[in-house]
Symmetry: C2
């Protein structure tokens, strides 16, 4: 690796600066240990006693000194080169490191005046850490400067790249722990460099921190030869620099020199890219820092080695309140940082040391990119009404709902071309999901070689596609967290790949919404196409509409789920999503030609209400219906209307009400979700006593979960996907899951008071239709003509 | 790369063999195209007409010829070296390739006699592909020889490694598509070589298939320089061999030579490892095959290039029934393989060609490792009753439920040491989850260097830990699919990382259970410790009990969820899980010291029933209770019993029934799940009219979803996790989510008919307790003494 190029003899730092930098580092390490241990005596001005120790000892020491070391050296180059930089802490458990640094640079006390720059503030800073009612052990939303908590590992690099897309002057220093480096998402995120434009995007400076151990095991990357390590990162397309050692003074000199070097290389690459139109993908520098786990911590505890081993992972000295030897050891450890040399009489960090940190918004804790809402500009949105499908008659077949949406998104791209604050992400499914129109105005951003037969690839583009749902989600999150807008389009079944990322983002939104100094960011918009009911090409593995069930578990204040039944509704919903802030919006839409139900005006009204009676499909005018036929989702809506057609033709006296649900949250009580209907409104729609046959896009139980406390719940009968399927037609899929028109008619008939022979006959007819269908499709491979050619007759 | 070492002049294959191998390849390609297109005229004995074409053209041609090429060359070395080998197809969409090969080697017709080795069989083989009622487009469970469908990409290498652990004579040839290679899970799976023991495990031969494109985009690994490609895989610790070209005859020679070479290297490594105790991790060979996407397919269609481009991805010629030019092109394409030279008059594959394939169980389609149930041996299980916690009094604090379980698992390890068919997988959490006892008898298997300060690491061990939930899950799945047993232990919140893998495995189980020739495999056992209520060290990011909600959406016949309330119940449940077959068992357990409720005898009875009244905690003897206090999970059970204590002390006349739920599926109707209670039994437990206060481990809505159609549902009030939390005590977590004893008492009081001042006073007292708690914990950081020292008094 490029280790030999570092001249360890050269003295980048003058003796005085070196002393100061080391003093700063001692201060951060002291603050980290203080946060883990000290209840009182924050400046160690008295001999340490058991009553000075916190009742619960929590935190993760192992990663902390290394991160403190990195942070200080980043401070130095920010000042020296006047950089715009934020810090992402992959090993999120190093919370005390970042909190301590943000405190020393002054940001923390500006955001939280209670945690003041004096002895009292120090005591509060220490006490609040990992304390009930205080702050968590990660680099959580409460920590200024953080866009990445890191409680769940794997996404630091993806967030870092998302943050620098379209931020050409921003550098994200991204510390990747050697534990996190073993995760799948992180292992593929190194390839993000194939998507980064050196002119229009910023720079990620990865710092792989090898301290050797995870919780109890060595880390894989810390136990391969340095040849393999070098090859791996060169193979990933980086220029790795290794810095290794445990002597602080030597390490400061080497790190300072290395930091200067990588910043110069970064500048050279960017200048070169701006001045020349460079064809080759640049090879960006990265740093591999090998330092002992728990560096500067106790070397041995109870006779066992601690520094440099897995025993440093959490709290290295466990019994200071009960074990006098431990207490002494802790006291020695704390005093080894010489706090008396670092803080003045009042407990304020010495000004000459604080001056090493950048000023104002250049401080990484205060950089507005890390509080993205500060930088958020609303999207310029064309009028979505102009993109609508103009139906000549109700039920006319449209070209595919997402295909129509594609034109709207194309023009969103266009309108925000100058602002450069909107991007589309997807795992190579943008064309498959029929959003083709976007490629009329932009391309996929791609920095690797492009050859003649490629389509829609350019070095500059607003679409980014990699076959990794983790990357798409992580990039978009990073993009949003730094104040921009975007959309992730994905096959419905495979959105489960990022269930846990969604969970963490929703948690982040929930907590940031409660912090007054955090500004709201744009919503995370997820468009699920290629859904469960249309698996003509794929089959059972591609059938899973259960993402809703994951989404619904998160705080109602941050989640929204929409099931537009046709293209005009989809347009209205997406426009709303693009305008919204601080939600996760999940939208499911079809991509295949499908019937269109509502005019644009009707669609806007319907979507604004989120749920409503389709009077044109109902015949219950001015009276209570005999049955409510409810539906949510494009295919369920089609089957419901087909069933209604049959019923209205065969049993013209039966009064049917059709209710369509776009906004799934409407079904919940207004106590459970801000969109929820109150009971009176719900009863108005669904009646208090009449049978409700509900055809649902997802797993049927979700509807019961949402409506269990409604007065008419007992009469609610839900059809949905119940894990039956294979490669087949959409209609056959509904048959396999008992949600087709013939089953729905039977469901209605089963719930009617006996209406005599007519009903019995119709029931038999429906049964015959199903047999006929099964015979026909298995013989011919396509649906029977009456299904293929079915048309709504209003 | 090692490309130069291949002597392209050398002729490994004699001219005759070369011709035969190429003929075999033509046959497989022909069968692949036939499956995509042909409805009739399977041997092309008549001029091709529109009516010979299938009504829906489906499938993925792009990957297919390359996989056919690989399969044939694997056949050759299996025969030549008498290998025991199975094939994993990462690009699962190459279904026609594997189905065609398994047909030609004869296995397919043995499993499905209807698909016979003649013209009629060929026609059926073609028609059934991607046809309603037929077979899917992937290497699905219906395909003999498959343990990996590949519909969702990312897990092929993990499955391959799982398959070879403890199978020293098995080689898994694992084809990784360049699309799949971009996914996170696959990107980290290359590191599996650091965990493979060359003596006791088998070998994975990865074949990275670079055909350049995914759906519509180039693949990242196909667009980096060969230097980077080589460095990447050397960095991953492999010895990569590159084979690149498009001339079939040349490619056959090179591939044959390369295959011989890698097999010899593999044998040398294994021999060396057996004969010497080699200290260094071996560098296993791998193959990188660069071949054109859609190799041998049409070069141009409608004037656009197809072979070698993304346009080969699915069906390259789209309009043969309506476009005469397309029809002609398809005919030429099919005839280019010269079927008349490949099949005899009856349509049987020529015997001299079929003789190239291995025989009997050496055929990859017939290898019993790919139908793991054939090889499944039951676990030797010690009597779990011997590991129980012997309580002196009810409610005595145990050492931690998983800690007790650890001893049982230790002895399961021991008992099956000879069989080598049980393993424990985890993302570096086995110690954190308190299963420490296993390390008394085994170690973590680790092939990278081991240093003095490490613990429990050895080249041979029954525990495998890598900080990748994807790897743990994928390895275990591969291990189970090849007929062994295992357990995955994981933090509860982070099991969502593998939601989608769980989904796919559950789908695999569902379909294989319906195939009579597939034998049942051992259950996938998932132990979730470090659960939502015990986040003393972590906090909000580590709190998500929603995996149940994902699990419950899958077929009831393959899923089980258990919430043992104490250690003895946990032992009973795990014993049951280890004995079970073809399920996914999810078990949640605590790791911290916690009260123990049941004697071993009581626990066995309780767990066998899965749900039951705890009479010792109830005072409703011989009569209907006034209220039912139900609970599921260790912390909810504790809070429920604490609430019951308060109520029984303060309102001794109130008749309380305590119901504990171990088996969550019991709550469902017997129509919904085989474990479900019928309504009469449910009503016996929960009454028909009395209030039920249910304290649940997970999100409360799940209980409503499971019970919505029970007669007493209207009186059911559920408390559970509702996304409120931080780093704090278990008790404070329950307070934040309104599930603590004081809230539960209030919930009961709210539902009682007015009992006068006594009730009002108690309500106020509970309110005061909550205020007192909040004050105390935020001041002192620990629970108030009455919580810390609480004891059940029966």
């Amino acid at each position: 690796m490029e280790r030999e190029n570092i001249n360890t003899a050269a003295e980048t730092l003058s003796p005085e600066v070196l002393q100061k930098i080391n003093a700063y580092w001692r201060a951060t390490n002291y603050l980290s240990v203080g946060q883990m241990y000290l209840w009182d005596n924050p400046l160690m001005r008295q001999p340490l006693k058991p009553e000075h120790i916190k009742p619960m000892l929590l935190g993760h020491w192992g990663t902390t000194p290394g991160q403190n070391f990195i942070y200080i050296h980043l401070n130095r180059i920010i000042k020296k080169h006047d950089l715009d930089m934020i810090y992402i802490s992959g090993p999120g458990h190093g919370g005390p490191a970042i909190v301590g640094n943000v405190y020393l640079e002054g940001t923390y006390s500006e955001v939280y005046p209670n945690i003041s720059q004096d002895e009292e503030g120090l005591q509060k800073l220490f006490k609040q850490f990992s304390f009930p009612g205080g702050i968590p052990s990660h680099v959580s939303p409460e920590c200024p400067g953080s866009i990445h908590e890191g409680g769940e590992l794997g996404y630091s690099l993806s967030h870092a790249f998302g943050a620098v897309f379209d931020n050409p002057d921003l550098i994200v220093a991204c510390v990747v722990g050697d534990g996190e480096a073993e995760t799948g998402p992180l292992a593929t995120a190194w390839h993000s460099n194939k998507f980064l434009n050196p002119v229009t995007d910023g720079v990620v400076l990865p710092i792989l921190h090898l301290n050797g151990y995870k919780i109890a095991n060595p880390a894989v990357l810390a136990r391969i030869s340095s040849e393999e390590l070098e090859q791996l990162f060169k193979g990933y397309g980086w220029k790795p620099y290794l810095i290794e050692g445990d002597n602080p003074m030597e390490m400061h000199q080497i790190m300072a020199q290395l930091m200067d070097k990588v910043i110069e290389e970064i500048k050279a690459i960017k200048n070169n890219a701006v001045e020349n139109t460079v064809a080759e993908r640049p090879i960006w520098p990265m740093i591999i820092l090998k330092s002992p786990k728990g560096w500067t911590g106790p070397k041995f505890v109870d006779g066992l080695p601690v520094e440099g081993t897995f025993r440093s992972h959490q709290v290295p000295i466990t019994g200071p309140t009960s074990n006098p030897e431990h207490l002494k050891q802790l006291e020695d450890w704390l005093k080894s940082y010489k706090p008396e040399e670092l803080f003045n009489e009042q407990g304020h960090f010495l000004q000459e040391l604080q001056d090493l940190a950048p000023k104002g918004n250049k401080r990484m804790g205060a950089n507005p990119h890390a509080n993205g809402g500060l930088l958020l500009k609303e999207l310029r949105l064309p009028d979505f009404r102009n993109y609508g499908f103009e139906q000549k008659e109700r039920g006319e077949t449209g070209p595919g709902d997402t295909k129509i949406l594609g034109k709207f998104i194309r023009d969103v791209m266009l309108e925000n071309k100058e602002q450069r604050n909107f991007r589309l992400f997807g795992p190579d499914e943008t064309l498959s999901n029929k959003l083709n129109a976007v490629f009329e105005v932009t391309n996929r951003q791609w920095e690797a070689p492009i050859i003649e037969t490629d389509e829609f690839l350019k070095k500059d583009g607003r679409v980014i596609e990699m076959l990794s749902e983790h990357q798409c989600e992580g990039w978009l999150e990073g993009y949003l967290l730094t104040g921009r807008h975007g959309l992730f389009n994905c096959y419905e079944a495979f959105i489960h790949i990022i269930d846990s990322m969604f969970n963490q983002h929703a948690k982040w939104l929930k907590v940031t919404a409660e912090l007054p100094w955090r500004r709201k960011i744009a919503s995370l918009n997820i468009l699920l196409a290629s859904h469960v009911w249309r698996q003509d090409h794929n089959g059972f593995t591609h059938q899973d509409p259960g993402f809703f069930d994951v989404v619904m578990n998160k705080k109602a204040s941050v989640i929204r789920v929409y099931l537009p039944p046709d293209a005009n509704c989809l347009l209205s919903v997406m426009d709303h999503c693009f305008r919204s802030e601080h939600y996760v919006n999940v939208v499911v839409a079809g991509k295949h030609p499908a019937p269109q139900w509502l005019s644009m005006e009707e669609a806007v009204i319907h979507c604004t209400k989120g749920i409503g009676i389709w009077t044109w499909a109902s015949n219950d005018k001015d009276s209570e219906p005999d049955v409510v036929m409810a539906c949510a989702g494009d295919v369920p809506t089609l089957e419901t209307l087909a069933a209604v057609s049959i019923l209205r033709e065969k049993l013209p006296n039966l009064k049917i009400r059709v209710v369509n649900v776009v906004d799934l949250m409407k079904l919940q009580s207004e106590k459970a979700h801000p969109h929820g209907l109150n009971d009176a409104d719900f009863d108005m729609l669904f009646t208090k006593t009449k049978p409700v046959i509900f055809a649902f896009h997802g797993y049927p139980w979700l509807i019961h979960r949402l409506t269990y406390n409604r007065s008419n719940h007992i009469n609610l009968h839900v059809r949905g996907y119940k894990e039956e399927g294979t490669i087949t037609t959409a209609f056959d899929m509904t048959v396999l899951n008992d949600m087709d028109r013939f089953h729905l008619v039977q469901d209605v008939l089963d719930r009617l008071p006996n209406l005599g022979d007519e009903v019995a006959y119709l029931k038999q007819e429906m049964q015959d239709k199903l047999i006929e269908h099964n015979y026909y499709i298995r013989k011919n491979g396509v649906d029977m003509p009456e299904i293929r050619n079915w048309e709504w007759k209003g």
